[in-house]
């Protein structure tokens, strides 16, 4: 099932659409003749590689971009893009079933058209692939080479039988799904994000192993598309590391959707029995056996560090944590940088892109931009969404930063009530005794959109007092942020200030 390094045969089937292939890896592509030396050679055409290649080319650098599979990387082919397309369709089905709560009749005979949902996803993926198509890259002056890259020394890399010499290089080869070490799983067969979007027929029953972002998002989406979903998670809660209360709300939401939830429950064995995948799940010593048609795993990602002869370039790496970089994203070879999933702890498209921008500046323009200076928000696109930026209370306490959290429940936000989207909260963490925002978590239908106001405030050093002055159009869900700022202001009204205010007003009446 695992297809590392292998062009997925299915991609050539018509289900993926000719548009995607033409944009991301044309069959008739011929690698260009290499220049004598490039300012920047980028290995990997995912989000980080694309941003770096286009950014550098736009600034006049000579750039080569090497990709072994498809332009766009995981995000486009098997990550954010296809999953969000499916989430949208699944949400529509959920709302149809819930129509009565919106004052509308539930449509009769709602039948899920699974192939149509997948077809829509593939169509949209094909369309979005055009923005980063190989033709556009060529037009922008990027030399695109398809093939596997291999370092030939500290300043050269080979691809497709030619050698590229570079002033600087960027390794942005991304990551791939980890394989869970479960006896029988490989033999029984399983899906990962790499091939789950290739599903053509709807399985009746699906086991999702892993309650991280991917597992939760897809478990909910597939459940809403009419699949009987079982979600098994080793940890006591979903989204380990996320705020407990966020995980609690998510857990309730998933259960309400009808997902069978097993927390604290490692999967210990899988076997095939009459075409079914029979799975043993253990919870505190109690074993349960379930039968499913498909298994999807989402238990983390491993960096793609193998096969490039990084040793020849003097680039140190770890197969678990990826390429070793300093705060300037330099590897142990000062000419070679890394960005994105291959070296970052937080493996997101937007953090990959942000790290690539740092690399362009640091590698080519003597920049001294630091990775640690970035405020990277993230969002899990379940319903409700869970978005976070900055530090968690747990981290703050570990660092001895006294923190106070201002919480606004979405059920106190008018627009959320009117929209029927009142599950969730906005929590803004400030350093106690000040209004300085150190982090925030939002659980809401549109948390991913709402978090941006807080990220901007943190980036710009704007505190909660100033946020209270920001006028939000009424009614909007994001006004929850201003409400949290108002709550902060109310806590500033000490008994002494209140007494003074009373005295002052009484004086006015005298």
């Amino acid at each position: 099932m695992h297809r590392n390094n292998v062009l997925p045969e299915l991609l050539y089937q018509e289900t993926h659409g000719p548009e995607l292939l033409a944009n991301t890896h044309p069959a008739d592509w011929r690698n260009p003749v290499p220049k004598d030396k490039y300012n920047l050679v980028v290995i990997g055409a995912g989000p980080a590689g694309l941003v770096a290649a286009r950014g550098a080319a736009g600034l006049g650098a000579s750039v080569a971009l090497i990709e072994r599979n498809f332009i766009g990387g995981d995000c486009l082919i098997m990550g954010c893009v296809p999953s969000k397309a499916i989430l949208r369709t699944s949400r529509l089905y959920a709302e149809m079933h819930d129509a009565r709560n919106y004052g509308a009749p539930v449509p009769s005979g709602i039948a899920v058209d699974f192939p149509a949902a997948m077809e829509r996803m593939r169509h949209l993926r094909g369309r979005l692939s055009g923005y980063d198509s190989v033709q556009r890259l060529r037009e922008e002056g990027v030399d695109v080479f398809f093939g596997s890259a291999r370092f030939m020394g500290p300043e050269a890399v080979s691809v497709g039988g030619v050698t590229l010499h570079f002033q600087k290089a960027l390794v942005a080869t991304g990551a791939r799904p980890k394989t869970p070490d479960i006896p029988g799983l490989a033999q029984a067969g399983y899906l990962t994000n790499e091939n789950v979007f290739d599903l053509i027929h709807q399985p009746k029953r699906l086991l999702v192993i892993g309650g991280g972002p991917l597992g939760c998002e897809l478990a909910q989406a597939f459940c809403r598309l009419g699949i009987e979903v079982v979600l098994a998670q080793d940890d006591p809660m979903f989204l380990p590391g996320e705020e407990r209360d966020a995980a609690q709300i998510l857990s309730d939401a998933l259960a309400l959707d009808g997902i069978e939830i097993h927390l604290n429950s490692p999967v210990v064995a899988v076997r095939l029995d009459h075409g079914q995948k029979v799975v043993d799940i253990v919870n505190d010593g109690d074993k349960r056996t379930i039968a499913v048609d498909e298994i999807l795993t989402g238990v983390g990602r491993s960096p793609n560090v193998e096969g490039m002869d990084l040793e020849a370039a003097g680039v140190a790496y770890d197969t678990e944590t990826g390429i070793v970089v300093n705060d300037f994203l330099q590897t142990t070879n000062k000419r070679i940088y890394a960005a994105g999933d291959v070296c970052l702890e937080h493996k997101f498209t937007h953090s990959a892109e942000a790290s690539a921008r740092i690399v362009v500046q640091n590698a080519l323009f003597l920049g001294r931009k630091r990775l640690s200076a970035l405020n990277i928000p993230w969002c899990t696109y379940t319903d409700p969404e869970i978005a976070h930026v900055g530090i968690y209370v747990r981290e703050a306490r570990e660092k001895n930063i006294p923190v106070k959290t201002f919480t606004i429940l979405m059920h106190d936000v008018d627009r959320a009530v009117l929209d029927g989207e009142e599950e969730g909260f906005v929590k803004i963490h400030v350093r106690e005794g000040s209004d300085r925002i150190v982090g925030a978590t939002i659980v809401a239908r549109h948390a991913g959109e709402m978090i941006n106001g807080i990220t901007m405030a943190i980036n710009s050093g704007i505190g909660l007092r100033a946020l209270a002055q920001v006028i939000h159009p009424y009614p909007t869900q994001a006004s929850a942020i201003r409400m949290a700022a108002d709550a902060y202001n109310r806590t500033r009204l000490t008994p002494l200030l209140r007494a003074f205010s009373k005295w002052w007003l009484a004086k006015g009446r005298a």
């Binding site: 604290n264 306490r397 201002f406 009142e422």
Partner: protein, 441 residues
């Protein structure tokens, strides 16, 4: 049944306290002192309920609901049973390493339901034993034996082992699978667990375990109340049944200029605020109809009620404001807020009496009721019988409100004050001479 509207607060409270106390007389096995988890047929014993029973007997004696002799007999039966019970790694024993299984067979006193060796429930059992040892301070051989056995039972507990080589105490252990892989971390009812564990002379918890427990505390402003957050109300009550947290503060509360008692008061008000908002549109919720805690519920299923998909639960911890919430109210937890917020607790009790006679019949509050679901009366679904934990908490919290009897007993308990000090508590009654360990010898 007298009309609650015509009764004074004192008479009303006496009525409910007395009825709650009756639970322990009715559901106790006099041979081994074990008390049933619930009043339902074939209920096993819960060791936590036994702890509440031991704490309630002194109240019963003082209130004239039980003779001192009977209280001593019940207490001794309990202590002798636990002292002589099987302590080993076998799946059908009573305990291990000084701890006990959560549920025991009422007659044989051995583990049932493949339950876990429970850290928190053993703690509540020990708290009850210590209460008895403080109350029965006479020189008779039987009262002396109560103190001797309690001391031995307490010393037998290996708190250090219960950490399972982690920074904090594990929640439990099973002979089949070892420690449960989650610990007591973050604000919860386990404050008293750390207090008793830190004070142990032979097997103490290290001081940094308390820091580990409190490392995930969340200080939040919710509904305009500044509070140390915990969703279910019982978390703000269990340790307080024994320990008077007024004006004593650990490092965290000193930094926040608050204390755990004040925190429980605010939490009760936050519960009320949540019910007033009634964001999920449940029947009954209102300013006098609140109480969200671990309680019995209608059962784990998804229902369609008035076109709305609702998930309801069986026995589960319900909490505010993040849920889970299925429309089930735990009336006892509102009443048990009495010491912290007497006005709103009494108003809630009177509301339950006036609006839900089917819930308050026989003066013994059920574990939960759910007016959103159909039932025989206005209370809708009502949990069958009642639960020992709830009744014990009611007896103790009403008593603490009325006379502060349990609090005063435990203030004199050297282990409690030592444990609090090890956890970093200072001020208030801990500064009084009688709370100093050297003053108690």
């Amino acid at each position: 049944m007298p009309d609650a509207r015509a009764q004074s607060d004192e008479a009303l409270l006496d009525r409910f306290q007395h009825a709650a106390f009756g639970y322990f007389l009715e559901n106790c096995n006099p041979v081994n002192g074990l008390v049933a988890d619930t009043s339902r047929n074939n209920s096993p014993a819960s060791i936590a309920v036994v702890g509440f029973a031991l704490s309630c007997y002194p109240v019963g004696v003082e209130r004239g609901w039980m003779t001192r002799d009977d209280a001593i007999a019940s207490t001794l039966a309990t202590l002798r049973f636990f002292w002589n019970s099987a302590q080993n790694e076998e799946p059908l024993s009573t305990g291990h390493m000084g701890f006990y299984y959560h549920f025991l067979d009422m007659h044989r006193g051995i583990r049932v339901w493949d339950c876990e060796l429970s850290l928190i429930d053993t703690t509540l059992l020990l708290a009850g034993m210590l209460t008895a040892a403080m109350y029965f301070d006479g020189d008779s051989p039987r009262e002396t034996e109560i103190r001797t056995l309690t001391d031995a039972l307490y010393r037998r507990v290996d708190w250090h082992w219960a950490q399972g080589a982690c920074a904090t105490v594990r929640q439990g252990w099973k002979p089949e699978s070892g420690f449960l892989h989650y610990g007591w971390e973050g604000y919860s009812e386990a404050a008293i667990l750390y207090v008793l564990g830190l004070a142990s002379p032979p097997h103490p918890l290290p001081a940094d375990s308390y820091a580990g427990w409190s490392s995930t505390y969340q200080w939040e402003n919710i509904y305009n109340y500044d509070l140390l957050y915990a969703g279910p109300m019982f978390i703000h009550q269990f340790s307080h049944a024994w320990i008077d947290f007024r004006n004593i503060r650990d490092k965290f509360m000193r930094a926040k200029n608050s204390d755990y008692f004040e925190n429980s008061r605010r939490s009760a008000f936050a519960q009320r605020e949540y019910a007033r908002r009634n964001a999920h549109g449940f029947v009954g919720y209102g300013e006098n109809c609140w109480g969200f805690a671990a309680c019995d519920g209608p059962g784990f299923e998804t229902l369609k009620i008035d076109g709305r998909k609702r998930r309801v639960f069986g026995y589960a911890a319900r909490g505010i404001p993040y849920g889970p919430d299925d429309g089930t109210i735990a009336p006892w937890t509102a009443l048990a807020s009495l010491p912290f917020a007497p006005d709103i607790a009494l108003a809630a009790l009177r509301h339950f009496c006036a609006q839900y006679p089917d819930v308050t019949q026989a003066d013994r509050l059920p574990s939960g009721f759910n007016p959103t679901l159909p039932g025989r009366g206005p209370g809708g679904w009502i949990s069958e019988g009642c639960f020992g934990l709830d009744q014990g908490l009611i007896v103790m919290m009403i008593e603490n409100y009325r006379s502060q009897m349990i609090w005063n007993l435990m203030k004199r308990c050297p282990l409690i004050s030592a444990g609090l000090r090890h956890a970093g508590f200072t001020g208030g009654w801990l500064s009084q001479p009688e709370a100093r360990p050297d003053a108690q010898k």
